[in-house]
Structure formats: structure tokens, C-alpha cells
Amino acid sequence: MSWQSRSRLITAVLVASLMILCSAGQVDALGVTPGRSTIDFEPGKTIKKTFTITNNEHKRFNAYIYVEDSIGKYITFDTPVIAFDEDDSSKQFTYTINLPERLVPPGDHWGKIIIMELPPDVDSGILETSITSMSDKTVGLIEYAGDSAEATQIVATVAVIHQVRIKVPYPGKYMQLDMSVQEAVPGEPVRFFVKMFNLGKEDIADARASIDILGPTNEVIATIESGPVSVKSMQKGELLAVWNTDTNPGLYHASATVRYDGEVGKTSKNFYVGNMLVDMIDITVKDFSLGDVAKFDMLVESKWNQPIDNVYAHMVINDQNDNKVADFKTASLDMEPFEKAHVYAYWDTEGVLEGDYIANLALHYGDRVNEREIRTKVGINSIRMDFSPTAGAVISEEGTLEQYPVIMLIALLIAINLGWFVYFRKRRS
């Protein structure tokens, strides 16, 4: 066999193997994006909208499309079946909404466009569907006629829904409210965003928020105000209020009262300042003799304003060759806000040699872990741990690298000036 033939054969085998590998992992997948379209009601208006049906797994199938729910009767489209080939990663679908002259009551009206995946051999001409109503919240079951009139096949289907929401304005002035919080660490400002959607038929000239900040015992610890904004009918607006405080880390509650043109609305949200943290303050071992059981006395401190349950420490000690020589845990305890407490662990040092070790200490609390390495020196009558509490400082190495050239240039500048100075002195002398 010539080398060209051999290389072609190898290439063919590789390509075939790749195709087998790809197809072995083939899965069913159907998607639609966006999952929801929102439309402001305008009497008698015709609106065209699109969404994208995704075929992430590049398989052959038919997408069957139909509508349901209260505004389904206002939605039309050209074809209910879209065929996908392996090459089609996605296809766009366009539909038309013919809004009526009047839609009641005010508020949200929903329609659903359902995209159902069917096998590629299902012909829409012989397709018979039996779809259970969505109001019963059961899923459609497809029966379709095969070649024979008596033959029926049940096909397990996957379906996704593109929601259509029509917002019908309320008479007068009406605001829908929501709040989000940009959380911060202690010392940084906490920013509160009150999102408003004017669902009324009238514009709102003046809307402003007063936000009460409540602590862990439900006491009001601060009240902040936003500036005023105006919001046109069927438009969105946002109020911003900032809480500048160096408060303790923990869970807080914000309750916002929004006054707009004589009306009042409320919204609220829980938020965190800082991160839930339990820190190891100190570790000591007293009255120790090598070969006996060492008692580790660990002082821990909660830096959180809420109770934290199930706090315990897990220590693994390795020798200089990274061989594990000890693995033990403390009992767990529940901590009150900002409490300091002792936890104890015991290590049987029979057979342990004097020397330097590395202790990997993991402090577990809630669903979090605070880990560190501690150099440990085991002596005849003592165990010393090179321990210092840390809040986990973050060092930006990128910043250091960027400053390095500048430092070099400054050093060069100093060297040049010193060189000139020495040169001048020598010339004079």
C-alpha cells in the first residue's frame, strides 16, 4: 500500500471514529429563545414578533407549533410545522398578534405558543393530535396514523413554550414595584434600586421612595430616601437610594414605601452586607507530652449577625513528606450572632516523632468552609502552631506586574542621575 493510500485510510478511520463518538453522545434537546415576549396593549394594533427555535444537538425532527390560553385566539402564523435537519442549529419563527379593540380586565393577559418536537417522519398531512387542555396542566399526547388506517403510535414528546404577555393598562395611576439591592461589604455603600412600571393610563409626575433598613431583630436602624422621578404611562422607571454605613456584616431587610402622585405602594427585600464568616481566632495545646493525647483548644468567632448552626473544625496533619499522620474533627456547635466559643479536638500522638508538620485546618459552618494551612512544630512537651487569624485578603497580582516596569524605570532614572553626579565630581577633582 502506498503512503498516500495509507494516509487516506488513516484519515477515513479517524473521521469515522469521530463521527461515531459524536453520534454516541447524541441527545434530545429542544429550546426556544426568548422564553417570553411582553407587549403593551394598543387597541386594534397588529404586531409581528419572532422567536428562535434551537436544535442544539443537530438532529432531524419536526417542530409542531400551536397556541393556547386566553389570547391564543389573537395569535396567527403561517405554518404550524417546521422541519429541522442535522445542519440546522436554529430557526426563526414569526407570528402575528392582532390585538382587539378592547381587552379586559387591566393587567397581564397571557398566551402560550407551544413548540413540540416530533419525529421527522411524521407527516403533518396525516397528523392527528389529541392535546389535553393546558388548563388541566397535563401535557399533550400525540397519536398519529401510520401507513395503516388502524395503526396508531404513541410518541413520547418534548415541548417548550414561548409565553406571550400583553400588558393592559389600569385606569388612572397604578404602579407595579420591585426592588433589587447591590450588596456590599462593610464600609462600602449599599445601593437600593426600586423598579417601577407605570401600568396606569396616566403619566406619573412625581414618584419617590423612602426605604427603612431593618436589622436582625426587626428594629429600624436607618431610613434613606431616593430622589424623585417621573414615569410615563406604560413605561419603566427606577429610583436609587444609597445607604452609606459601616455596619456589621449580616442579613438585613429593606422595606420601601413609594409615594407617587397621591398614591402609595410598597415593596421589600432581604439583603446581605458582607459574607457570612466564622473565623478561627486561636489554637492552643496545653499540658502536652509526646506520646500522650494532645487536646487542641480552638477559639472561634462568628462575624455574622445571625445564628450559625453546625460549626466544627476538621484538621488533617501531614509530615514533611506529605504523609498523613492525623485526621480528626471537633464536635459541632451552634453559634449565636458575634459569639466567641471554644471547640476541642484530640490527637493521639503515640508513635509520632518530634519535628515539623503541616496542619490543614478546615472550619465548617453552614454550607461554607474556611480553610488554611498551619505550620506545626511537635516537641517533647509542646505543640506550637504558627497561626495568625486572617480575613482572607486578596492580592491583585496583575496590579503588581503592571507596576514592575514603572519601578524599573524609576530605578534607571535614579541610576542615571547618580551616575552623572559621580561623573561630575570626578571631572572636577
Partner: protein, 163 residues
Amino acid sequence: MRISNVNGLILANIIVIGVAFAFFLPGQDIRLIHPYTGAVTDDRKPLFEWSSSGDGSELVIDDDEDFSTPYVFSVTGRSAVLSEELEYGTYWWKVRNGNVESEAGKFTVVSTVSLSRPEKGIVINSGNSELLFYRSGVTGAFVLGVNQTIEVGEEENVMAEQK
């Protein structure tokens, strides 16, 4: 022309200081790289990238083009990922450092409703939003989180919509 010793010293200092300012101090222009203007993404925690802006920069994001009520994040380096997911919608963003500010970029976060069947009997929410999940023979729906899986019968029909 012969440069005197003192003039030579001054010239050397000016050159070195000039090089330092030209190459190593924060650039006067901050250029946005990603998300590019007009991007449409279903990533609710997109990677923000920009040309170098130096320490003490701020990433500013708002769903209002006039940045009237922005989220402001202190950043270092040339990229950042938010710790919280963005809501669906259109956003404007920019990076600023002192008096230097980039142009504003615009991007849209869209929801994706997607169900995958990686193997028989397993369905996964492969989109970017929480779903209301329906199955044949079961009345009502339950919430399926992003990347959450559920066991279903091989003959079972399933359907999902955005929560």
C-alpha cells in the same frame, strides 16, 4: 552641536519620564471589548472585558441608556464577572477611571427555555431560566432549576415554560 553635561542629564530624565508616561501609566482611552455593542446573549453572568484602564476603575451597568440609576462595581485589571445574575433585558455599560471614561456599550440578555434528554429516563433544564415543568399523567407543575435534572419515564411527554 555638543550637548553640555547638564543639558544631557536633563534630557535623559525627560526621556525616561516620557517613556514611563507613554507606556506604563493608564491609557487615555478605555475601549470596550466584550460584550460587544449589540450583543444578544443568554448568559446572565456575562464576562465583561475592556482594554486596560489601570487600578481604581469602575464598571458601570444600567438598564437605562442615560445611566441614571446604575450598578457600580470597583474593578481591577481588564475583565470582570458579576457575582449576581442579570435579569433579562437590555443593558448599557461602560468603564471609567477618574476622568477617563469609555463609550457606552449595549447588550441584551434573553431567556432561553430548553429541555435536553442526555440519556433515556433523564431530562435536564439546559436553558438559563427556572422552568415550570409539566409531565403527562401528572397534574400541576413543579420548578426545575437551571441544570437541574429529573427522572422521567421513557414514554413520558414533558413540557416546560419560563417561571
